[in-house]
């Protein structure tokens, strides 16, 4: 139970509302939450915030405003929801000529890597454009060790479409107790669409 700032409200924890929203609760508990929601202004407001965040996150993904390492299932959901996704595949030591066209909503790179036994994976980016170099380290990116690949989703709308021709190099490294072990280097040679 949660306590509101005014000290009067004792309703479900926010995490319980999230669980209800995502269909994680047993039917009887979910029905109890619904009955409470229909009689509680405080929880209605909390749920409105959650709904707005959910819709906002969906809009940010659809609008190409985010970068992330995604899963194969996420890529399939993007397509199922009508997004037009340009896809590239690259092996360790490989190079891919890539672009984003006006008709594309997103670009996803399937990056092959030997992930078996890897506990923590970092992605190190080096982007060279117009004589400038930017380096970025994405720490502890999520991955499925059994998949043998990770899926990189760059920011299409706010980044990729505005970039001139450039080269981006990504190194995947396994972070282990003894230090770091490189799993592969991948070169993305981007030209504007």
């Amino acid at each position: 139970m949660s306590q509101a700032a005014n000290g009067k409200h004792a309703g479900p924890e926010f995490e319980t509302l999230v669980a209800w929203w995502l269909g994680e609760l047993p039917a009887a508990e979910a029905e109890g939450i619904e009955e409470h929601l229909f009689a509680c202004a405080h929880c209605t407001r909390r749920l409105e915030v959650l709904a707005a965040l959910g819709l906002g996150i969906r809009a940010a993904v659809s609008g190409g405003m985010l970068h992330a390492m995604i899963s194969k299932g996420f890529l399939e959901t993007m397509r199922a929801q009508g997004l037009r996704v340009r896809e590239y595949q690259v092996e360790p030591g490989g190079r891919v000529e890539c672009t984003i066209k006006a008709e594309d909503d997103a670009v996803v790179s399937r990056v092959r890597a030997p992930l078996a036994g890897v506990k923590r994976l970092d992605a190190l980016w080096r982007i060279e454009a117009g004589g400038r170099v930017e380096e970025l380290r994405l720490e502890d990116v999520p991955f499925d060790p059994a998949a043998g690949e990770v899926f990189s989703l760059p920011m299409a709308a706010t980044h990729l479409r505005k970039m001139p021709a450039h080269t981006a190099t990504m190194r995947l490294v396994a972070v282990e107790e003894k230090g770091e072990r490189e799993l592969g280097e991948y070169v993305f040679a981007h030209t504007p669409g």
């Binding site: 669980a19 009955e35 929601l37 009689a39 707005a52 969906r58 809009a59």
Partner: protein, 188 residues
């Protein structure tokens, strides 16, 4: 479980509408509609996963409720919130069975006056939210993206990211807390 102040006001408005009958207490109807609409919309979003379908649910359920209140067909106006929840459950079942038609709603209530317009739902600044999402740790961002873009529970998200469901819930809880704080929409 304490319930914060909706029931009494809802009940009073429902009683006024029922007492007015065909003379129509427009102010009470408008107030009750505006109070109940967010709850019905959220229920619709949760069960139908579609903002347009949730909007239709609001109209269908609340316009029917007002009609029945006027006609004296709601036995316990003081329990109007429970009555509306029951209507929501029944209508969502009809929608899922394909037994509900939007055209019927338009034919029945097409000329509904603006007096029963629903309040605008909370909308967040998209660019600010994108910035807040970018500020999350990689794992946190992936978890909330998978959760809310795909409407997936923790076990399904965990299966795709090689994480235990409990771990996903912890990451999700932490990420949502950061997002609410970043957006200035924390616990009221």
């Amino acid at each position: 479980m304490h319930r914060e102040g909706l029931g009494l006001e809802d009940a009073e408005l429902a009683r006024r509408i029922a007492a007015a009958g065909e003379r129509i207490d427009a102010e009470a109807e408008s107030q009750l509609y505006r109070r109940l609409a967010p709850r019905v919309r959220l229920y619709g979003l949760r069960h139908l996963r579609d903002p347009h379908a949730a909007h239709d649910l609001v109209q269908q359920v609340l316009l029917t409720t007002l009609e029945r209140l006027r006609a004296g067909k709601v036995r316990e106006p003081e329990r109007i919130a429970s009555y509306v929840l029951g209507m929501c459950r029944m209508t969502v079942l009809e929608i899922r069975r394909g037994a509900w038609r939007r055209e019927t709603l338009l034919e029945t209530y097409g000329d509904t006056p603006e007096a029963v317009e629903a309040p605008e739902p909370l909308a967040l600044d998209a660019e600010k939210l994108a910035g807040c999402l970018e500020a999350l740790a990689e794992r946190e961002r992936s978890v909330v993206m998978l959760t809310f873009f795909s409407d997936k529970p923790a076990d399904a998200v965990g299966a795709e990211l090689g994480l235990a469901a409990g771990n996903v819930r912890v990451i999700r809880h932490r990420a949502l807390g950061k997002l609410r704080e970043c957006m200035g929409v924390g616990e009221p």
